[in-house]
């Protein structure tokens, strides 16, 4: 009997430890979020407001930060790590033998991750963020709908960039994981931490011609109502253009990369 009792206890502990682990991961996100919110509170505090406060108020900024954290916790672009590791370990040759489009496989895996992240991370994050800072209300129902559509386009842009960086491994795998470098740039230039309207003028002009601000800042501005529906639709048009451009570039690199594997002999 004791042996069965032990097995039951171990099984229970394992399951609990797993759940606990998922929660811990979320608490890490909450800490990063809270730190940003308190910085904004200090920045907006007191009677004297700097020029930065003219675009949106503190509440808008907090909503911006909370929703940005949510987006980051859900958007899963494992593709860059997957390709990098498969190339480094040589497993990519086996992957090519699968009777399916490899990039489509990686995309479906990431989409699966997104669905589970919405349940596992986003919902608890919203609950805790609501308790701490109030519910991050969208500007209007239309804003919320446009935000969701824009988010889908954002994810596609992010995913295409990740896949492309992952493919670089076919040529220079000894350079290490360049995906981390790309991630660092995305975090800054996407406006996910600090909105780009606070950046110096010249940098704003440069990033208007880059895809990064269309990944976070655009949907977030739509959500808080800084971008009215007409402007939002125009922005989504730009998102589509980027998806077409990046998609074309990706398929070109992809065909070159396939050739590369054949040359190496797998």
């Amino acid at each position: 009997m004791r042996a069965y009792g032990y097995l039951m206890k171990m099984r229970m502990l394992t399951a609990l430890a797993y759940r606990f682990d998922v929660w811990i991961g979320m608490i890490g996100d909450i800490i990063l979020l809270a730190a940003s919110v308190f910085i904004w509170k200090a920045a907006y505090g007191g009677d004297i407001l700097g020029s930065g406060a003219s675009v949106i108020g503190l509440n808008g900024m907090i909503t911006y930060t909370v929703v940005s954290t949510l987006m980051a916790s859900v958007f899963s672009t494992g593709v860059q790590d997957t390709i990098y590791h498969q190339v480094r370990d040589g497993n990519i040759a086996l992957d090519f033998m699968r009777p399916l489009n490899l990039l489509a496989i990686y995309l479906s895996e990431d989409l699966g991750n997104i669905v589970s992240s919405v349940m596992n991370k986003a919902i608890p994050l919203v609950l805790v963020a609501t308790l701490l800072f109030g519910f991050p209300m969208p500007d209007s129902t239309i804003a919320a709908v446009l935000f969701i559509i824009s988010c889908i386009l954002s994810f596609l842009i992010l995913w295409l960039m990740s896949a492309m960086v992952g493919l670089v491994a076919f040529w220079v795998s000894e350079l290490g994981n360049l995906g981390m470098v790309k991630d660092a740039f995305v975090r800054i230039l996407s406006g996910s931490l600090i909105p780009l309207w606070l950046f110096p003028e010249w940098l704003q002009q440069v990033s208007a011609w880059l895809p990064f601000q269309y990944t976070y800042q655009l949907p977030l501005s739509v959500y808080i109502g800084l971008m009215k529906p007409e402007a939002a639709l125009r922005g989504m048009g730009v998102q589509l253009i980027w998806i077409v451009l990046l998609g074309g570039l990706l398929s070109w690199i992809w065909s070159r990369a396939r050739g590369k594997v054949m040359v190496q002999g797998g």
């Binding site: 682990d21 890490g28 800490i31 730190a35 200090a42 920045a43 700097g50 406060a53």
Partner: protein, 270 residues
């Protein structure tokens, strides 16, 4: 004494091996060399934007903030060099790596920590040194002998506090078989609480980060004292000594927790 000397010799060999291993693929360093400095320089640049476009944060001007940020990064960089094995305690437990260490006639904690001298971690020190030197110049830091001594002791104390916290958090894996996410959370917490003034946070958080997890001693309280601000925490001794004592206590507690955990270690299953 010969025992201590022996440990130093062993550490030397381990470090040499680890460096050779890491230099096997020198180009591999490139991605780290691009990412780490970008990340930290961007972080300080964003603080600059916020201060410029809004106002000093709780009375901390940009130069003050840079001083705190740099001081925090210095001990962070050294911890990444010397204590990185603690981040991987979970996989070491799961893969049964302590079997090997337990069989050798050397202190297990010592072997575990020195087993991987993370030479690449020196990259984390680059932005730390640059930002600290800039800020020290900007706030008119007095580079006298006493200040330098205080600075060195503060950094050592900070490394001991961080190293102790990571050791304890990592050692949770001895009991639960998991501490990876817990470590990730601790890294995030330490980053956000050592590089920004503690006074940004609610009072409860400040109390927790002073007495429960003594993170405030890593950089915030020492920075206040170096910058000549009104101390948010009164100590009967100089803040430098305080930091060192807290660091030593942290490390001692961490060592005991690690030892207790090791007794629960049951090797890999298969």
């Amino acid at each position: 004494m010969s025992g201590v000397k022996h440990y130093f010799t062993v550490f030397g060999y381990y470090a040499k091996l680890a460096i050779q291993r890491q230099l096997e693929y020198p180009l591999f360093l490139v991605s780290w060399l691009l990412m780490i400095p970008t990340q930290y320089f961007a972080g300080i640049w964003m603080l600059r934007i916020i201060v410029d476009k809004f106002q000093p944060l709780e009375g901390w001007t940009f130069n003050d903030l840079a001083f705190l940020y740099g001081l925090g990064l210095l001990s962070h960089g050294l911890v990444v060099v010397f204590f990185i094995p603690t981040w991987g305690t979970e996989s070491a437990v799961l893969r049964g790596e302590f079997d090997r260490l337990l069989l050798r006639p050397l202190n297990v904690f010592f072997q575990f920590i020195t087993g991987y001298f993370n030479f690449i971690g020196l990259i984390d020190l680059i932005p730390g040194i640059v930002i600290f030197l800039y800020a020290a110049h900007a706030v008119g830091f007095n580079w006298g002998l006493l200040s330098i001594l205080k600075l060195v002791i503060t950094i050592i104390g900070g490394v001991l506090i961080r190293g102790g916290i990571y050791t304890i958090v990592g050692a949770v894996a001895f009991w639960t078989k998991r501490s990876g996410n817990l470590i990730g959370m601790t890294i995030a917490t330490l980053e956000r609480t050592t590089m920004y003034p503690l006074t940004l946070y609610p009072y409860v958080v400040q109390v927790v980060l002073t007495f429960l997890l003594p993170i405030g001693f890593i950089s915030f309280y020492p920075a206040e004292s170096f910058l000549g601000k009104t101390a948010s925490l009164e100590l009967p001794v100089d803040m430098t000594i305080g930091t060192l004592i807290v660091g030593l206590v942290c490390m001692a507690v961490a060592y005991m927790v690690f030892r207790q955990g090791l007794r629960r270690y049951e090797s890999a299953g298969s």
